[in-house]
């Protein structure tokens, strides 16, 4: 035990102190004079709206980028990391918001990147590496072959792998930038208990999330950022920090209720989209994809259908199959009573179906291209004239209006979208589909990485769209969100629909039960199939 610690038993000295850090980007001040402290054995929540500067601060701490000014002290010594390795050497381990796994390498290799276990002759021992990784990923509740390439994993699985890797490193400070954004309840619970254990072992954790319940449940203290400035600190005072207090600090005014349960809306619409006996086959290119097994589903005009399920339940596959992105083996899809067979997303879009995919980085954004291009790409026909020329004025006007309604924070329409915070990127993608005005809109994790305020706005928007008669299918791993906006909810497990209920009758408990059907029964089903 260090002498400093002995001196102040009640209040251990800070492991990390950030003093007046400022960071400018081209034309943007992302952080301005931010100070905070993290002590060993505590979980510090770092909260703030999209674009508040959380990720920027964390990147500075992990040596990804230098601050424009300010001082960082780690373990009593001034700390100027020049690259991620400098931070790593001191025991600062980071889980980045944008996943930073190497897609072409296997799970095992990603976990052991740069430190593969060596066997005789000093050569890499693949056996040991894969064995060890099996144990490491099991800690976060993941059960897959470590020899699988990461490119074959779902976003959630990738996130778990990344968490597992971070946890397997020797660390004194773990920085987690939205580690739970793609996870469902079960995995989140598992992560929480691991974080708790780490805290007891004296590890300091900085934790960023937009799911405030999570933050409230686990954080000892919170630091809140607003527009790149420090908005204040919150302390656990006996009980967990209350949500309204957090929200007030974040947005600067008292908050209304977070997830307003919908009053029962009268969804009198006809069945718009109908799916019968939908099956998919294993695709050699994506051997780990869930195979759908006879899915039946109806989606009415003007209705929001929530789809709940655990990671790997096949929700994404269902969405992709309807959208024509994956091949269908059997089954029928009808739209407004007419059978359709979209062979590609282009077909589906032409029929009036839209999909906001779950993997923003790989499936939705054009990172280097401007916001304007990103916005209009699915509606090029709408913003061009008969001769194929873009009508840029209308395009810009449309973007400007969505910028206002969705409160997208951006510098200019030409700004590359990669310069936006994650939540703002998500809003641009939503705007992309709103601009198409689809008949059926499928949103897969629509609020992944979106802050509370904006999340409420997104929910509002979905409800408004539904009110205009659009049929909406919303896949979400956040049960409160599903409960908040769905008129009707179906649950999925292992490629099947396992239950259905009206939104107002649903509770988290009921849904959880349907999502996680009896495991042994499930195993039997599996055997019977083979």
């Amino acid at each position: 035990m260090s002498p400093a610690e002995a001196n102040a038993p009640s209040q251990p000295p800070a492991l990390l102190a950030v003093e007046g850090v400022t960071k400018h980007f081209a034309g943007v001040t992302a952080l301005s004079d931010v100070s905070l402290e993290v002590r060993p054995g505590e979980i510090l929540g770092l909260l703030g709206e999209n674009g508040a500067g959380k990720s920027t601060l964390l990147k500075i701490l992990s040596g990804v980028m230098p601050p424009s000014s300010g001082r960082i002290v780690f373990d009593g010594v001034e700390f100027n990391p020049h690259n991620p390795q400098d931070a790593k050497r001191l025991g600062i381990v980071t889980i980045y918001q944008e996943l930073s796994l190497i897609p072409t390498l296997t799970v095992a290799e990603n976990i052991f990147i740069g430190r593969a276990p060596l066997g005789p002759l000093g050569l890499v021992s693949w056996r040991k590496m894969e064995e060890d990784s099996r144990g490491i990923i099991a800690r976060v509740g993941l059960d897959l072959d470590p020899a699988t390439p990461v490119s074959a994993l779902s976003v959630a699985e990738q996130q778990l792998v990344e968490i597992a890797r971070a946890l397997s490193l020797k660390s004194r400070l773990i920085i987690m930038d939205e580690p739970t954004s793609a996870l469902t309840e079960t995995e989140v619970q598992k992560l929480m208990s691991i974080m708790d254990r780490l805290r007891k072992d004296g590890v300091a954790i900085m934790f960023v999330t937009h799911r405030l319940e999570e933050a409230s449940a686990i954080c000892d203290r919170m630091t809140v950022l607003r527009d790149g400035r420090l908005a204040g600190h919150l302390d656990r005072d006996g009980g967990p920090i209350k949500l309204p207090k957090i929200i007030e600090k974040m947005v600067g005014r008292a908050a209304s209720e977070l997830y307003a349960r919908p009053t029962q809306r009268d969804v009198a619409g006809d069945v718009r989209l109908s799916v019968r006996g939908l099956r998919t086959v294993r695709d050699p290119q994506a051997p780990h994809a869930i195979v759908l097994e006879g899915v039946d589903l109806d989606l009415k005009a003007g209705e929001i259908l929530g789809v709940a399920g655990l990671v790997g339940s096949g929700r994404t596959e269902l969405a992709r199959a309807i959208f024509g992105a994956d091949r269908i083996a059997a089954g029928t899809i009808t739209l407004d009573g007419k059978p359709i067979a979209p062979a590609s997303p282009a077909d589906a879009i032409a029929l009036g179906i839209g999909l906001v995919p779950e993997d923003r980085k790989h499936q939705a954004i054009f990172a280097a291209l401007g916001i304007l291009t990103n916005f209009s790409i699915a509606a090029l026909g709408r913003y061009s004239n008969a001769t194929g020329f873009m009508t840029e004025r209308r395009e810009r006007e449309a973007l400007a209006s969505y910028r206002k309604t969705l409160s997208i924070r951006m510098a200019s329409p030409e700004q590359p979208i990669e310069g936006l915070s994650g939540g703002n990127q998500q809003k641009v993608i939503l705007a992309r589909w709103l601009a198409r005005d689809p008949k059926v809109l499928i949103v897969d994790e629509p609020t992944r990485g979106v802050d509370v305020g904006a999340k409420a706005e997104v929910h509002q928007i979905l409800v408004q769209l539904a009110a205009r008669g659009i049929a909406i299918m919303m896949i979400s791993s956040e049960l409160p969100e599903v409960l908040a906006v769905s008129d009707r909810i179906v649950t999925m497990r292992r490629g099947r629909i396992t239950g259905e209920m009206p939104g107002i009758e649903a509770t988290e408990e009921k849904l959880m039960e349907l999502m996680a059907l009896d495991q042994t029964q499930e195993a039997q089903n599996q055997e019977a199939m083979q």
Partner: protein, 338 residues
């Protein structure tokens, strides 16, 4: 950083700023100044027009290549395809494969320049389309398909002409290579018009947006409803078309179509595009950049020849300056933010 670009400034034309922010252009200006100081006659209109005529051949292909590289593709076959289209144009222009050697225009009794031009661009576009088809349907990477194309088209060309050239076209065809409009060489005018059209297509049309999107993220493009395969095929058709057009102009200029034409052009053409700032990984780049890139190479070669620098030294200098030009651009970009 401190000085943010105001939106209003963006649309205004500000030459100094443009120069400052686009390294290759600045480098080009610098080279012209240096060569002019070394030998003032460098900047004689006659030499400038020479340079323009010289870069027009590879420049035309580079325009097409810009489309291809924007989609993160590549086309190595352009040099061979140029030779192939040129031979086709010659056969049409002369009315047969007979190896008519006369350089005099009177010997020609073929189908005229228009048929020759049409044949060249149609064959080029078709050949590009076939390659695009192999890329999208057979899922063979562009590098491999067009490398195959490189040897296939050369073999076909040699087979058609049995290794020899086909020479001697009529005056109306030759005009496209050697004619002048006012003082300006026709090939330079063709190149300029094509560059402007390409710029407009890429910058102001749906199709252009789609090309950038496919190069920026093909999967996201597909999920946004773009017909990615069609767009990919189309860019190879475009570069093939331009190879055909360039072939026609080159044959008209040389009064001869040679089986050995265009060897090594792929590298010159790709250099022009890449020096102009287009990323080989797709999604980033512009026609303006390509024009500057082509001009940079052209000025460099001409300027060194102009000063009768020995060919060995020329190689060394050209290599170093290409690297420097791009390094300088990167350095500028890292200083001045977009």
């Amino acid at each position: 950083m401190t000085s943010t670009t105001e939106p209003s400034q963006r649309s205004g034309i500000n030459v100094a700023r443009l120069l400052m922010s686009f390294g290759p252009l600045m480098f080009l200006a610098l080279l012209i100044v240096v060569f002019t100081v070394l030998k003032p006659s460098f900047i004689d209109p006659i030499n400038i027009f020479n340079i323009m005529r010289q870069i027009s051949i590879t420049g035309l292909i580079a325009l097409g290549m810009t489309f291809v590289i924007l989609t993160a593709g590549i086309d190595l076959s352009v040099g061979s395809l140029l030779a192939f289209c040129g031979m086709v144009a010659a056969v049409v222009a002369k009315g047969g494969t007979a190896n008519t050697l006369s350089l005099s225009t009177s010997g020609a009794q073929g189908y005229g320049w228009f048929a020759a031009l049409l044949a060249a661009v149609v064959v080029g576009a078709l050949a590009g389309g076939v390659q695009g088809f192999a890329i999208t349907r057979l899922k063979v990477p562009p590098f491999v398909v067009t490398l195959g194309g490189l040897t296939v088209f050369r073999g076909l060309t040699l087979t058609i002409s049995n290794g020899g050239p086909i020479s001697g076209f009529d005056a109306s065809m030759r005009w496209f290579g050697t004619g002048l409009i006012g003082p300006v060489p026709v090939p330079a005018i063709i190149f300029a018009i094509a560059a402007i059209l390409c710029h407009i297509v890429l910058r102001y049309t749906r199709y252009g947006r789609a090309v950038y999107a496919v190069g920026g993220n093909a999967e996201a493009a597909r999920l946004s409803g773009l017909r990615v395969d069609r767009i990919l095929i189309s860019v190879y058709v475009i570069v093939g078309f331009f190879a055909g057009l360039a072939a026609f102009v080159l044959s008209a200029r040389l009064n001869s179509s040679e089986a050995v034409a265009g060897i090594g052009y792929e590298l010159t053409v790709i250099s022009a595009v890449v020096i102009g700032g287009t990323s080989l990984f797709g999604g980033i780049g512009s026609v303006g950049g390509t024009v500057v890139g082509a001009a940079l190479i052209g000025v460099l070669q001409n300027g060194l020849q102009f000063n009768n620098v020995s060919s060995y030294t020329q190689s060394i200098v050209i290599g170093l300056i290409l690297i420097l030009a791009v390094a300088f651009d990167r350095w500028l970009k890292s200083r001045v933010r977009r």
